[in-house]
C-alpha cells in the first residue's frame, strides 16, 4: 500500500503546558470511569443494532481494546498505535460483513459517550468546560477520522486485490498443442479488459512460441465498436508478432458490429465454433487427428 500523507501523526502541534495539563486531567477522568463508560458505550452500540455480525461478548472485548487505544491516543497525542490497531481490527471484521456506517457510527458513539461524561463533570464551570472541550474535541475528531479512514482504506485494498484476481482470471491464454494457443473470452469486454487481453495474448505468443491462436468469442454477447476495433487490431498485431489468429464463435450481434465498422475480413480468419477453429488450426500446423480404429499399424 502507498504511504498516506493525509493525516498528521501528532494530534496537536501545540505543546502549550496548560493544554497538556487539561488533556492529562481529562484522560485521568476518563480512565477512572473506564468500566462504567465502556459499558455505557457497549450498551449504546447494541442499542443502535450495530455489529449484528458479532456476539455481545466479542463486542465487549473489542470495546475495551478500542477504549484503551482511544485513551492512549488522547493522552500521548500519537495516533500511530491506534492507526495500527484500526487496520488490524478492520482486517478482522471486514470479512464478517461489518459496514462502513457501523464503524463510523461506533466511533462517533464513543465520542458522544465520553463528551457527555465530560459535560457531567465539568459542566458546572463554563470556563473549565470550554478549555476541556478545546483539548478534547480536535483530538477526538482526528481519532474518529483515523479509524474511519483506516477502515475504508482496508476495504479498498481488499477490493483492489479482488479486482486484480478477477482480471487475471478473466483472460487465460492456454496452450493446447505445441505452437497452438486458445484464448477463450467470456463475458463483457470493456476497454480495460480488451487492452489487457491484447497484452496477455501477445506475451503468450512469445512465451509459448505459438504460430496459431484460436480466439473464441462464444461467451461474448456483444461488443461496442471501439472494442470490436481493438479486437481486429489485436488480430493484426498477433500476425506481426508471428502468429495467425482464427476467430471463432462470433454471435450474430458481434458479426453485425464487425460488419458495421467495416472490418477488412481478408485480414481475419473466422470459423463457426471453437471445435472447427481448433481443427483448422491443427491443419495449419500439420496435425492430423485420426481415430485409433482407423490408424494403420506401422
Amino acid at each position: 500500500m502507498t504511504d498516506r500523507p493525509s493525516l498528521p501523526h501528532n494530534l496537536e502541534p501545540s505543546s502549550d503546558a496548560s493544554y497538556l495539563e487539561v488533556l492529562r486531567e481529562l484522560v485521568a477522568h476518563l480512565r477512572q470511569n473506564r468500566t462504567q463508560l465502556r459499558e455505557e458505550w457497549a450498551r449504546r452500540i447494541m442499542g443502535a443494532k450495530f455489529l449484528t455480525a458479532m456476539t455481545n461478548d466479542e463486542i465487549l472485548a473489542e470495546c475495551s481494546a478500542v477504549y484503551d487505544n482511544y485513551l492512549g491516543a488522547l493522552e500521548t497525542g500519537s495516533i500511530e498505535a491506534l492507526e495500527a490497531y484500526a487496520r488490524d481490527l478492520s482486517e478482522r471484521i471486514i470479512p464478517r460483513g461489518v459496514e462502513t456506517f457501523e464503524v463510523v457510527g461506533i466511533v462517533l458513539l464513543l465520542r458522544d459517550v465520553l463528551a457527555r461524561s465530560l459535560f457531567a463533570k465539568y459542566g458546572a464551570n463554563q470556563q473549565v468546560l470550554t478549555r476541556v472541550l478545546d483539548a478534547y474535541e480536535p483530538a477526538a475528531n482526528r481519532i474518529a477520522n483515523t479509524v474511519a479512514v483506516g477502515f475504508v482504506q482496508e476495504r479498498e485494498r481488499i477490493i483492489r486485490q479482488q479486482q486484480e484476481a478477477i482480471r487475471e482470471l478473466s483472460t487465460p491464454v492456454l496452450p493446447v498443442r505445441e505452437r497452438l494457443l486458445i484464448l477463450p473470452i467470456i463475458g463483457i469486454i470493456d476497454p480495460q479488459r480488451s487492452r489487457q487481453l491484447t497484452e496477455q495474448l501477445l506475451r503468450g505468443i512469445r512465451v509459448n512460441r505459438a504460430r496459431v491462436v484460436v480466439m473464441d468469442l462464444t461467451g461474448v454477447p456483444t461488443v461496442d465498436a471501439a472494442v470490436a476495433n481493438h479486437l481486429v487490431q489485436t488480430v493484426e498485431a498477433a500476425r506481426l508478432v508471428g502468429a495467425e489468429v482464427i476467430v471463432t464463435g462470433l454471435s450474430p450481434e458481434l458479426a453485425q458490429t464487425l460488419v458495421t465498422i467495416a472490418v477488412d475480413l481478408g485480414k481475419m480468419a473466422t470459423v463457426g465454433d471453437l471445435q472447427g477453429g481448433i481443427e483448422v488450426a491443427e491443419k495449419l500446423l500439420g496435425y492430423k487427428v485420426v481415430p485409433i480404429s482407423l490408424q494403420s499399424d506401422p
Partner: protein
C-alpha cells in the same frame, strides 16, 4: 550504423540490433536488394528484434524492401517484432500488409523452408 547482412545457404539474414536512422535504413534496402541478385538468394529474413520503435517511415521502407526483393525473385519475412511495437504499429494503421511475419529467426527460417518452389513462368507464344 551499418547493418551486417549474413548469407546462410539460400537465404540472406539482416539483423537490425539498434535503432537506425532513415539513411541507414535506405542503405540497408539498397544493399539487400543488390545482394539478393548477387547471391541468387531465395529468401531474406529481416530481424527487427532490436527495434523498440517503428515509425511510418521505417514501416514503409520495410514494406518497400519486401516488395522490391519480391520483384528480384526472393521472398522476405520480417521476424522479431516486439509485442508492444506490434500493437503500436496496428494502432497507427501501419500493419505491413502483404509482408509475411514470424516470431523469431528460427520461425522465419522455418517459414521460408515451407514456401514451395516458384513455378517456372510460362512463356506465351
Amino acid at each position: 550504423m551499418d547493418v551486417p547482412i549474413l548469407k546462410q545457404r539460400d537465404y540472406l539474414i539482416a539483423s537490425i540490433q539498434a535503432v537506425l536512422t532513415d539513411r541507414d535504413l535506405l542503405n540497408l534496402r539498397d544493399k539487400l536488394v543488390q545482394q539478393v541478385g548477387n547471391f541468387r538468394s531465395k529468401g531474406v529474413i529481416l530481424d527487427v528484434t532490436g527495434l523498440d520503435v517503428m515509425d511510418s517511415f521505417s514501416v514503409r521502407t520495410l514494406r518497400d524492401m519486401a516488395h522490391m526483393i519480391r520483384l528480384r525473385g526472393a521472398d522476405t519475412v520480417i521476424v522479431g517484432i516486439q509485442p508492444e511495437v506490434a500493437f503500436a504499429m496496428v494502432q497507427l494503421g501501419l500493419s505491413l500488409e502483404g509482408v509475411p511475419t514470424a516470431l523469431d529467426l528460427e520461425e522465419g527460417l522455418a517459414y521460408l523452408g515451407r514456401i514451395p518452389k516458384r513455378p517456372v513462368p510460362k512463356h506465351r507464344p
